[in-house]
Symmetry: D2
Subunit: 328 residues, 4 copies
């Protein structure tokens, strides 16, 4: 809904939200009401047939991304697809082919590339302030507990996909390179109710990586941490360090006998509100100015490959190599 709200209410120039699609009737009704629009469809294909609609935002569950994105591309719509782009390499390739054939824009929802702090950090790193990059660490810890549909890792691709796709993209972005080999350790520490039926489910994961240009990457993901939405990144260079991210939700500190306390941000929607808006604006500009989005289908696929390799590494307890289109 964050994209829908932006297009409906926050004045994204040259764009207007005309319709939403959702198979769940109640959600659809609430959505239309909140967004102040009259057109809601339970079947997204209906909208794809409307020639006056030029672009779509795909924010469905990840497992449906491939089908919807391919259909949208074939219908000639430009697409802003939420991360993860797809579930595996085959789906990613199908998307890339459809998009290329249709000649539409495909932007992947890696909104951190539009966040003012991340952009500033990227520019500092690129300017050489800390020398060549050696290691990028990126962490995303979320306060909310995993949804039950995530328990089956084979179907959901787990937190590596749902939570850490952003971190994977961040590492690639700061390092200007691809992942070569990953090793991951994971476990279920906070969801005992899932343990018996889904022994492979994990809510905490660390992944370390060799990158193709010799740099190092380290990613951590956690769900249900309660203390806040924690998205931090450290870029270690030859001669310096750049750190990005803070937990505090605002600039207020309360000092009492219990100590000095800041309240923390608890949702990515709050932390990245401006980034989402900038992302939505840039999507429209990319279409109108006919240029590539900052994060495109190849970036989406690259993240999917790391997710798959990471999940395999967790199960097989060995480093997994990404070569060409398949991890080994």
């Amino acid at each position: 809904m964050i994209h829908a709200r932006n297009f409906a209410r926050n004045g994204i120039a040259d764009a207007r939200l005309v319709a939403i699609a959702d198979p769940a009737y109640t959600a659809l009704q609430h959505g239309c009401q909140e967004l102040g629009i009259t057109r809601g469809c339970s079947e997204y294909r209906e909208l794809l047939r409307d020639p006056t609609i030029h672009a779509v935002v795909v924010a469905a569950p990840s497992a449906y991304h491939c089908e919807i994105v391919v259909a949208s591309a074939r219908a000639g719509k430009h697409i802003l697809c939420e991360k993860p782009m797809a579930m595996n390499v085959a789906e990613s390739d199908a998307i890339l082919a459809a998009v290329e054939q249709a000649g539409v824009k495909l932007q992947i929802g890696f909104m951190r590339r539009y966040d003012a702090s991340f952009i500033d950090a990227k520019q500092r790193v690129d300017s050489g302030e800390i020398g060549r990059v050696v290691l990028v660490k990126s962490v995303t810890h979320g306060p909310t507990t995993p949804k039950p549909w995530m328990y089956d890792i084979r179907k959901s691709n787990g937190p590596l996909s749902e939570v850490n796709s952003h971190d994977i993209d961040t590492v690639r972005w700061f390092c200007n390179t691809d992942f070569e080999e990953v090793y991951a350790i994971a476990g279920n520490y906070r969801s005992p109710e899932a343990q018996e039926r889904y022994p492979d489910f994990y809510d905490n994961v660390i992944l370390s990586a060799r990158l193709e240009n010799g740099m190092q990457g380290a990613i951590a993901g956690a769900q249900g941490v309660q203390y806040g939405y924690d998205a931090r990144c450290e870029i270690l260079g030859e001669k310096g360090l750049v750190t990005v991210g803070r937990l505090a939700t605002n600039s207020v500190t309360t000092h009492t006998v219990a100590g000095s306390t800041n309240q923390n941000v608890h949702s990515w929607m709050d932390l990245f509100r401006d980034a989402y808006r900038a992302e939505d604006e840039d999507f429209i500009r990319c279409i109108l100015e006919d240029r590539q989005p900052r994060a495109n289908g190849h970036d989406g696929k690259a993240a999917v490959m790391v997710v798959n390799a990471g999940n395999r590494s967790i199960v097989e307890r060995r480093p997994v190599r990404l070569t060409g289109d398949r991890e080994q």
Copy 2:
């Protein structure tokens, strides 16, 4: 222009910018162009005659506020007037009378009352977390050098008016009371070019105050500090302290052999962007829902009285008492 941009581009619900007025022709042209509007007048009274215009934002130099606000009220327009509301008590009273007679809304541009951090701090203080308030310190240091029209304190009311009106309002807001007596010290430390012709000009001021309910207030103002736009507030209670404000412009820290460095925010427009938007939204809501703005004409007048008393204290080197409508 920050209000104009909000109404023109940032989707303030139920409001639409239709025209701007500016006696300077080039500024007017640029303004219309940037805002994407066609109606620009050199004479604001022309717009006041248009019955389809329901509300105005007054962001002219402070010396013109009284004239414009009174004219706007008489024309039946609701008014959002930037701080300071006026130059003195007489002007303030003229405004209050005109607004009351016309039955229009008058909101004063104390946008800190709409800032998420300040609001959070206010709620914490009101909740009793730190006990009864004892002392409120509020500081505004600005990076930009004073404009030459500010040199003549008799005409401009100086930094106490242009910079610290916000701090005065903040102290009143957190203490839920009025100023009783103020003492101020000021000097010109950064504007040697003004020293000879305007010996009374100051670019640095500290003001301490007894408040009517016995609390204490301490305000500091500075212009041309270069290091950033520094707006911080400390509320000391019987048993705790709440601090508000930070200088860092984002969450990036660069760690090199030179130390660990954050870049600072350099403009109130960046620091209070969201607050201005919330202020503009609330102005419209106050009109539509027929309720009092958070900061109204009485708040505006109260700040003007402190400014005048502070300036007198600086010159006469003694504490100045505010009783009823006149300082002594």
Copy 3:
């Protein structure tokens, strides 16, 4: 006892604690036991007669400083006297005369001049990093409630003396000048039990000052704040700001659903432990190398004069001028 512990246990070179004096028998016994020494006197003059004792530390209640310091000087002992040096100008002058006549060293316990952070800040300011100094703010808020003997301001000189002597010295030190005129506001907010019998007692005070070289000073003091021992200083220059001090007692932050919390330092003994040690070491070095202490009797007297002027300002509700040896 902090000095005694340093000399007894922390290996201050070329110095050895041989005796302590305290009229309270139990305290004396406990002191000797804790310090591992056998010589304790109820009457300090007994120790002054011992020619093998070369130096004394005076940490008695402020009202006794003058008598003890003068006696010590006459006995030819070098003296480290805790702040405040004395109760008024007459006592200060008596001390200065006795010390000069005896040719002994007198060091005043302004240990912030020996604190690594304050020294670093002083060097940065002196190096011109922020331009010429414009305003120094210094705050000391203490967690402990005032002792009953402080209630009678005429006898105790109040928090300005007991708490803010340090801040007064800090302002003088950073500005390299003396106070010219002070204005103070004070009140009793946390000690209702003292209100009736000691209507003049205050536990919260703000003092603003013109300094002789045109700089500005602002001091705040509070007792019983509960949230920690809060000693911070801000030096505002023409083109920058240096801030000193932090509340956090160590580098641990706990992030939970309640927020991110640091524990605060609760005693000056913890915050300035290293500074006290450095101060004690330098006292011995000043004696052995025959040089002036960093804070000497003239610094002590200067602070006493500000205290007296500030207390008079509170009562008479007007700015008080310090000229020569008497405030007006």
Copy 4:
């Protein structure tokens, strides 16, 4: 020398430094002079023969630890041995056997266990504030470039041993368990001069670990980072996070047009000064009170095993399992 200085000058109760040994004549001379002692030997065994010496501190290069510690134990001396305890399991076992047979105390120099912040963090974690521990991250980045004797990893065990032994111990300490399996990635990014002759040398390493009780560990090490001595730790629990460590060397921040800057600590000697002192004091107390040191020979051996397994993982590019006394 940090231990020698503590025992010589900083008044460690019930201990006195009587002699130092160093085969390098000039270093020995300078050492004696600085420490104010007269007894310096080029041959440490000479001191071991002195029955009036009860305890020794072993701060020789790591490769000599085993020989010296074993000899010291056989001579009946209590031993404080700097980390790493030894080069491999065989050496570790030799040390453990000698110490056990001699009935002397062996304390390993994991001084972070004596650091006030680390101790506070440990207590918070143990108290359950953040729930059960899930993941401990520990990072040590040092500003100094590796010494040439470290280039040959086979002989030096590399940064994992010299730098990260502390982090390994920290993970074990916070998790109350041992390492089960480690995977490490390393590279040489800052020492091009070593590249050709020592292709295995690394100056940057990340190590991830499964712990025996199912918790996760992540360690990062770097040399020559220039920006400061950076020793931070994060303990992620089921429902919270505890962070330890800060870079700022003191509480001073300079705010100029270049931003807000803190100077960083550049040496472990500055960061852990108090911890070293506490460690030295506790060593003496353990001897006198006949109790086990906080970090004993088994802790030393456990860290050595992780170092060896990590170095093997780097070369063989696979996770290495630690079972019983040998990694696989």
